[in-house]
Amino acid sequence: MTAGQITAIQPVQDAPDQAGVAPFGPKPRHVSPGRIGIYVFLVVAALFFLIPVYIMIVTSLKGMPEIRLGHLFSLPAEPTFQPWADAWLHACTGRDCNGLSPGFYNSLKITVPSVIISIICASINGYALTFWPYKGANLLFGLLVFGAFVPYQVVIYPLIIGLSSVGLFATLPGIIIVHTIFGMPILTLLFRNFYAALPVELFKAARVDGAGFWRIFFSIMLPMSVPITVVAVILQVTGIWNDFLFGIVFAGRSNWPMTVQLNNIVNTTTGVREYNVNMAATILTAAVPLIIYFVSGRWFVRGIAAGAVKG
C-alpha cells in the first residue's frame, strides 16, 4: 500500500444507546438489587457473630441480682464495674483470691521474653539459611519446617524429662525455652522466605563493602525486616498469650499464665457462680491479643507498603 491510496479517513459515528446517552467519560455507577442483598446479608452475619461479644459485655456490667432475672439481651439497668474490679483483684482460684492480675503479669513475663528471643533466633536462622548456605543447610531447613507439623502432645513428655533433668521444669526460663522452640519452625520459615525474596545483590554489595556476617545482618538486613518482624510479633504474641497447654504443663504453679488462671476462676465450683465476674475475666484475658490485632494491623499494612525494597 502506498500513501496515495489512502483517502480521507471517515470520522467514527457514535450511535446513542437505548437510554439515549452516548458513552463518554467515566462509566456511571449503578446500585443493583443484588449488591444491596449482599450487603444486607453481610451486615446480618456480622451482627450474628457479634451476639456473644455483646452478651459478654452487658453481662459483665450487670450485678448478680439482675443476672438472675435471666434477661440475657437486656442492657444493664444499673451498670457497674465492680465485676471487672473483682475479676482483676479478688476472684478466687481455689484458695487464693487475688483475681486475674497475677496471671496477667505471669503471661507478660512469659510472652515478652519468648517473643523477643524466638524472633531474634528465627531472624538469624532465616538470614544464615538464605545468604550463608552451608553444607546441609537445606536438610536442616527441611527438618525445621517438618517440625511445624509435629503435634505438641507428642513432645510434651520428652520435654518434661529433658527440662527436669536440667532443673528447668516448672520454671519461668523453662516455659520461655519451650515457647521459643515451638515458635522456631514457622518463624524461621517466615524470615527465610522474606530474605530469599530480597535481591541477592544487596548481600553481595555489602560483602564487597567489607561487611561480615553480623555487620550485614544488623546494618542491612535487620532494618529492612520491619514488615516481617511485625508479622512475627503478631503471630507470637497471640500464640503465646493464648497458649494454655504449655503454660499449665511447663510454667509451674507460681508462673501460671492468665489463660490457666482464667480457667481456674471460671471452673471454681464453691459458692455462687459469678457470671458477671467470669465474663469480665474472659474479656480481660482476650484483650491483649485483640489490642495487638487492632494496633499492629495498621503497622502491618504500613510495613508491607514500606517494604518495597526493590530498587
Binding site: T2, P199, E201, L202, K204, A205, A206, R207, V208, D209, G210, A211, R215, S219, I220, P223, M224, A308, V309, K310, G311
Partner: protein, 364 residues
C-alpha cells in the same frame, strides 16, 4: 592508554555447580587501565566469571591475580575491587551518603577521610544534591550513579560492572554509557564490564571477550571482533541487523577459489583465508552494511535480485532480498529506499566477507 603490566589475571579458572560445568579452564589477562567487556548471551557464564573475580563465588579450580597478588582465597573486600550491580543493590534504609560511606565505615576510616572521599565521588558523578535522600526517592539513572559512587569511594584498582545499564530505559542507557566511558578516561582504572548488549560492548571496550558456554570464544579489539569473527557464533552474535549467512560450498576452479550456492558463484580471489582451504561445504557470511546497493558493476561480485520486504528504520533502511533461494539483507541509506518488488542490483567485495567451516563453525 597506559598499558603497563597486568591488572587482573585469571588462570585456568574452572567453576562447577555439582555436575554442571559453568566455566571451563578459562584464561584472561586484563592490562592495567584496560576496559574489558565480557559479552555473551544469558547463561554463558559472564556474570559468574565476574562474581568469581569479585570473590563472591568460590571457584573449583585455577587462580586469580589482581595487581600481581594471588587473591584466589581472599575475601571480596581484600581484593581491591568495587562492584556495580544490575539491580543497583543500594541499601534501602540508608541515605545516599550513608550508602556511599558504608564500606568506609566498615573499614573504620577516620571521619574526615570519609567525608573527603564522598565529596570527591559526589562531585565526579554529580550527585551532590542527592546525598541526603533515600534510594527510593531517586530515579533509575540516579540510583545507578550512586551505585557507581559506592565503588568509587573505595579507591579500588579494579571496577567490576555486572550489566549496570540493563534496568534503564534506552535513552538513559545511552547517556550513562557515555558517562561510564568518560569516567574510565578520567580515572584510568581497570574495568571489567559484563553485558549482553553488543552496542555497549562495542562502544565501551578496549577489548571484548565474547563468551559462550563458559568459554571465551574470542578476545580482541571491538573492530577486529566485528570484522574478523573467529567463528560463526561470534559473527552472528555481534551486529544488528545480523550478518547474512549463506550455506554453500567451496570449490577450486583454474587455481581460483569460488563459493558456490545453487547457480551463484562468488569469486574469492580477494578473501584472505586463515589457512589453505579445502573444497567442501562452507558458510559464507556478509554483513548487510558491507553490500553496495544499485551502484554499478565495479565490484568483484554483483548480482540482480528482487526486493521482498523493506524495513525503514529512520537512519537507514533494511532491504530483504533473495540471492538465489537464500534470504539476504542489505542496509541502504534511507534516501535510496527502494519499493517492494523492485528489481535491484547488489555488489560486494568478498574481502569483507567471513567464511566459516560448515561443521565446526570456525573461520576459514
Amino acid at each position: 592508554m597506559a598499558q603497563n603490566g597486568t591488572s587482573v589475571s585469571i588462570q585456568d579458572l574452572s567453576l562447577n555447580f555439582g555436575a554442571v560445568s559453568v566455566l571451563k579452564t578459562l584464561n584472561l589477562d586484563v592490562a592495567e587501565g584496560e576496559f574489558v567487556v565480557l559479552l555473551g548471551p544469558s547463561g554463558c557464564g559472564k556474570s559468574t566469571l565476574l562474581n568469581c573475580v569479585a570473590g563472591l563465588l568460590d571457584i573449583s579450580e585455577g587462580r586469580i591475580f589482581i595487581k600481581g597478588k594471588n587473591v584466589t582465597w581472599e575475601e571480596p573486600k581484600d581484593r581491591g575491587i568495587g562492584m556495580v550491580f544490575q539491580s543497583y543493590a543500594l541499601y534501602p534504609q540508608m541515605t545516599v551518603e550513608k550508602n556511599l560511606s558504608f564500606g568506609l565505615r566498615v573499614a573504620g576510616l577516620p571521619k574526615e577521610e570519609i567525608a573527603k572521599r564522598i565529596a570527591r565521588a559526589a562531585e565526579i558523578l554529580q550527585i551532590e544534591p542527592l546525598l541526603q535522600r533515600k534510594p527510593s526517592a531517586l530515579s533509575g539513572g540516579q540510583r545507578q550513579r550512586v551505585a557507581i559512587g559506592r565503588a568509587l569511594v573505595r579507591d579500588v584498582d579494579v571496577f567490576l560492572f555486572d550489566e549496570p545499564l540493563s534496568n534503564l530505559d534506552a535513552k538513559l542507557r545511552s547517556e550513562l554509557r557515555v558517562e561510564i566511558k568518560l569516567l574510565h578516561r578520567k580515572l584510568q582504572n581497570t574495568m571489567i564490564y559484563v553485558t549482553h548488549d553488543q552496542i555497549e560492548a562495542m562502544t565501551l571496550a578496549d577489548r571484548i571477550a565474547v563468551m559462550k558456554g563458559g568459554v571465551i570464544q574470542q578476545l580482541d579489539a571491538p573492530q577486529t571482533i566485528y570484522n574478523r569473527p573467529v567463528n560463526r557464533f561470534v559473527a552472528g552474535f555481534l551486529g544488528s541487523p545480523a550478518m547474512n549467512f549463506i550455506d554453500g560450498r567451496l570449490e577450486k576452479d583454474k587455481g581460483d577459489w569460488y563459493f558456490i550456492v545453487e547457480d551463484v558463484r562468488i569469486p574469492l580471489a580477494t578473501y584472505a583465508f586463515e589457512k589453505e582451504p579445502v573444497p567442501g561445504p562452507a558458510v559464507f557470511g556478509m554483513r548487510p552494511e558491507h553490500v553496495a546497493f544499485n551502484s554499478g558493476t565495479g565490484w568483484p561480485f554483483t548480482a540482480d535480485a528482487n526486493v521482498e520486504v523493506v524495513e525503514p528504520m529512520g537512519s537507514d533502511t533494511l532491504v530483504w532480498l533473495k540471492l538465489g533461494k537464500q534470504n539476504f539483507t542489505v542496509r541502504v541509506t534511507s534516501e535510496r529506499t527502494p519499493r517492494n518488488a523492485d528489481a535491484v542490483s547488489i555488489g560486494f567485495d568478498p574481502m569483507r566477507a567471513s567464511l566459516f567451516d560448515a561443521e565446526t563453525g570456525n573461520r576459514l
